[in-house]
Each structure stands twice: as C-alpha cells, then as structure tokens.
Symmetry: C2
Subunit: 348 residues, 2 copies
C-alpha cells in the first residue's frame, strides 16, 4: 500500500511555498519568511500548522484581498525596552517575524524586550519566534490570541481563543527547552478528526451547548466548544480558562488588537485583528551564559532521569519530541501528506 506521506527536502519544499506566496503578491523576502515558518511547523511534526494550511489560512485570504500582501509593519510606539507594532493586516508569520526581530533589538539594548502587536493574522507555530531568541542566547516568549473556540468555566458560549503560550530557553549540550502549548485541552482539529472517524472523544475535551461535558464530537463542534486546559471546574478548568484570558489580556487587550470573540477566524472577509506578544531576555545579563546553560542541562537531565510510571513511557522534556522530528526532517526530508504536496505543486 502506498504511504499517505512523502519526504521532501526542506529547501525544495520551502522554495515551492515561497514561490506560491510571491505569486500571490508578497515581496520575495516576506514570502521566504512565511514559507520558512510553515515548513518549520511540518519539520517539528506540527502538521496542523504547516504547509497543509497554506491555502485555507493564507492563499485564499491573500487572493480575496482579505490579507494585505504588502503591509507597512511599523512600531507605533517605541520607548525603552517596549514597543507596540501595527501589523497593517499583513500575513501573520511576516508580521510576527518582524515583531520578534524588533523585540530582539530592544533586548539587545536593554537586556529585555517586549513587543505587543496588533492588526495581525494567524501566525503559525508560536515556537518559531521564541526560537529566534534562543539562537541569540536569549530566552524567548510568544503569546497570541485566536478566534474563540473555548468556553469559559461555568459559561456556555465560545468566548476565548485557544491562545497558546510559548517559552523557549537555550541549554548547552542539550537542546533548548521549548514549551509551546495551546491553553485549551486539545485543538479543535482533534475534535474534527474524531468526528470524521465517527468516534467519541475522551471525557474532558469539550462541552455541549449548555457547558456540560460531552464525548460527542458533533455536539462540541456544532453547539458547544472546547474545554480550557483542566477540563470542567472540578478538575480546575478555571485555571486553563484563566491562562487563556491572561494571554488575551496581554496579546489582545494591551496591544490594541481585537480580543475574545472580536477576533475573527481565518477566512473571514473582515481583518482578523489578531494580537501577539513577544518577549526576550539576554542570558548574559543574568549570569555567565555558559553557566546558565549548564544549569539548563542539569535541569533537563534531572527530568529525563525521572523513573517512568506504570505505562513505561519515558518522561519528556518540553520540546524534545519536536526536536527529534526536526532532526529526522533535516536528514530525510520533511514529511508531507501526498495530496498536500500535489496541491502545492499544482499551485506552484
């Protein structure tokens, strides 16, 4: 039987995607940045944020004129270690990349940088931008808000996004620590997959239209919504809801972007007005960077030395699985679904 997936060399896939984006009006440099962000998601095993989204999240919107292919991305405020960036409804990965570049510049000057960005769009994987910081011996942080898919604890309407949090810190001999997590229990795609396969979802993933736990994926998709991390109130879902809300306060409210159900989904004719937050801290202001990275190694190795539980699976360090995926992709090519690649080649 033919495998569903092919392996494509990274450069080939990135060139293909960049060419398609440039063909939709993006300046070549921006097309290259966006292609690198999307391909990196596939390399890290995050297929849901990779090249398979090119059409629905980016191309269709560019072609329909819903996303600005040549935005004027600029800081509207910049003072000390802080800046606010207007994304001018540009492609999310382009706006986010520029914002994080500015953040690294601020951190270079002040030891610490914070950039809040408004009028952006879906930016792909948060880890991409936080890892820009680790490459420069800094700790990196990325937050973004997103379209409302999660029901607040005790509520019955989708009001908060799946608002991810990413923290990346470099180590010395070990790979960087990279936490990149949505603040909902699972992404909506996991519910959709169960629905397509005609399977119930495990309890604790989603709620029905009355906010009650349900295992029926159709009910979650049509009337209900996702539970925040923690699930219902009895298992502290209010903490996941609180985290999602805090991300929205920083990335949405304080940046001047849309927030809560004001954030429009990709594909909407009006601008999504997504908000992001980026931060970076130089390790050399906290101590000797090599000493600190040695301490990171010791932290990571101590976690890896944790004896496994009854399931027999090893304890993972955040970012470890994605690192292995990325190493395999570098050696053997990026794993892409056969029909996705065919679609890209038809566009290219």
């Amino acid at each position: 039987m033919q495998s569903e997936y092919l392996r494509v060399p990274k450069a080939e896939l990135a060139d293909l995607v960049a060419g398609i984006l440039a063909g939709s009006g993006l300046p070549p440099e921006d097309a290259g940045v966006a292609a690198d962000v999307l391909v990196r998601a596939d390399m890290r095993g995050i297929e849901s944020h990779g090249v398979s989204r090119l059409r629905a999240y980016y191309l269709d919107a560019l072609r329909a004129g819903h996303i600005n292919p040549r935005p004027v991305i600029r800081p509207t405020r910049r003072s000390g270690a802080v800046a606010v960036v207007d994304g001018d409804n540009g492609l999310g990965p382009v706006v986010a990349w520029r914002s994080m570049r500015l953040c690294l510049e601020l951190a270079g000057e002040s030891g610490l940088g914070l950039v809040l960005t408004r009028r952006s769009n879906h930016f792909g994987i948060a880890a991409y931008y936080a890892l820009m910081a680790t490459a420069e011996n800094m700790a990196g942080f990325t937050l973004t808000n997103s379209q409302p898919l999660t029901i607040p604890t005790h509520g019955r309407r989708r009001l908060v996004g799946t608002n991810p949090i990413c923290v990346a810190v470099p180590a010395r001999r070990c790979r960087p620590f990279v936490l990149d997590m949505a603040t909902s229990v699972v992404p909506i795609g996991r519910i959709q997959l169960h629905s397509r396969l005609g399977r119930d979802v495990p309890p604790g993933w989603g709620a029905d239209g009355e906010g009650r736990p349900t295992t029926d994926p159709g009910c979650i998709l049509q009337e209900g919504g996702l539970f925040p991390l923690g699930g219902p109130a009895a298992t502290a879902g209010y903490k996941g809801y609180g985290l999602a809300a805090a991300v929205d306060v920083l990335a949405g409210v304080l940046s001047g972007a849309a927030f809560l159900d004001g954030v429009l989904p990709p594909g909407h004719a009006d601008p999504s007005d997504v908000g992001h937050a980026f931060a970076a801290v130089r390790l050399d202001l906290l101590g000797d960077p090599d000493d600190l990275k040695d301490r990171m190694d010791r932290f990571i190795l101590r976690l890896k030395a944790c004896p496994p539980g009854a399931g027999g699976e090893a304890v993972l360090v955040p970012g470890e699985k994605e690192y292995w995926e990325e190493e395999i992709a570098r050696a053997e090519g990026v794993r892409v679904r056969r029909e996705v690649l065919a679609g890209l080649r038809a566009e290219g």
Copy 2:
C-alpha cells in the same frame, strides 16, 4: 453553635503578626511587610497562605535559625531592565517585596523590568507582589518555584513544584484582572483535607506511586503525588507539567536558585533556596493608560456577559472572587479561624 471563625480588624491582626515576627528578630519594617502579606492572603480568602501558616512556615524556621531574620538582600547583577537578587535566606515575603520594589524601579526607568531572585523562601501569595505593580499603573507578573509535589507526565516521582503563575493587570472602573494559580490541579492541602475527612478525592487530582490516577488521598500523600494541571496525559496533563517546568526554568534555573527536587520544603534545616521571578510593564508606554484600562473594562464585562451553563453559576473573571472577599474583610474584619487567633495571641 459557636462559629469556627472570627472576624478581626485588619490593622489589629497585622499588628499582632508583625509584633510576633519582630519578637523573632525581624527588623520592624520587615516584620510589617511580612505581616501585611500574610494578612492579605486571609483577606483574599486564601486561608492556606495566611496567618495560619505563621508558625510552621516562618516562626519555627526563624527560631531554629533556618531562616535569616536580618538578611542582606541585594542585587548581584543589575543592568538595563534586568536584575538578579540574592535573598540571603531571608523570609520569603520580605525578599519578594524587596525584589518587586526593585522591579518596579527598573520598569519606571525602562518601561519594563525583570528581577530573578535566588536564596529565598516560601513567599505566601504570588498575587501580593503582582498587585504592587497594578497600584502603579503597571501590569505585574510573579512566578516562584516550590518544593516538589507534582509528578511529571509519564513519571512516577514527585519532581516539580506546584509552581504558581500570577498575572495582574489594572482596569478602570472594574477591579484588576488577577490570575493567581498553582500549576498543579489542586494544592496538596486539598488532598490532606480529604484524607482527614476519610473521603476519596475526585479522579484526576493525583497519582499513585506508579504514576497511575487514584482517588485514594492516602496513596497520593504517601507514595504518589499531585497531577499537573490537566491531569493524566489523555487530558493534556503534559501541558500543566510543561508550565510547571517553565516556571522552574525562569524562577529557579535562570535565577541561580535551587530547582526541581533541589528546592527544600519549609521546615527543613538547610535553606530552601526558593527562586522567584518578578516582572512589570508600564501601561503608559503601551498606549494611553486610561484607554487601555477602558479596554480592560470591556474585556472583563464581555466575560461577565457570557451566558451561564447548565449549572447556573456565573462566569467569573480571574481575581473577582478574591476581590469580593477582600472588600468584605475590609468592611467586617479579616476572617480567621478561632484556634489560629488564639495561637497568635498566645505568641504575641
């Protein structure tokens, strides 16, 4: 029947606690700070972090010489918007208060401040320090590591702390947004309470000595440990574990403090070497502060307008419950357990 609780005027309770701490060797100013932190916890309804902990967490350690009553708390590094503070094994609330003061000073200069603190101890409620920022028109952030009580996903040993995260942002007519949450599903005290009452705990709170979910509180306390927020892997407990680990990286590893099971519990003869992280951002560098606080009001009111689910309970904004408790405490006195107050009066 006599109530378990009494209401005591705030000033009276704070003076009583400050007097006891000063009697144990603390300079009067430091005793006042620590008393205010503890009393504020009771005012906010967080009894587990209030004056009932005075003896076990603070006095016993001071009297046994395990905590330094007259520490030299000083920045070992300070550059741009960043500082690293050595707490000299002082009382946690005193070290944390000084660290946050420095952080607000850095933010005053650079718009943004970050202070990482090592060689500290249990500091009470994280919200106290983050709220010092909101009082000055800044957003405030507090993180701390703590003794290991949580089992990493797939593991079977307590290795990470309950490492709380606090984010506080001021609003205009509404009260500040204040998320203050441990990254475990519940605090260990909730398991102890169920154990004392001879009741099972709900599924998803804790694991046995093999890392498997259990509802037996004795088993969680003796052989197992707490689940990170999210519970077992099937309900994304790896996210809560990742958050707890990220807090430890920032507050423990990068500050130069102890981390993971290197953090010793209160009461241990050797210094706990707890690590904290504090950050603050000036709203006036992000936009017009009144406009931003109006946006916070709109965010909060939009959440409050979420229709309630089948349980009929209202959707809460993070910090709302604690705010009401605090208002009641200001009007009617701080709620203290009768025997706790008797204990304090016997000390005082």
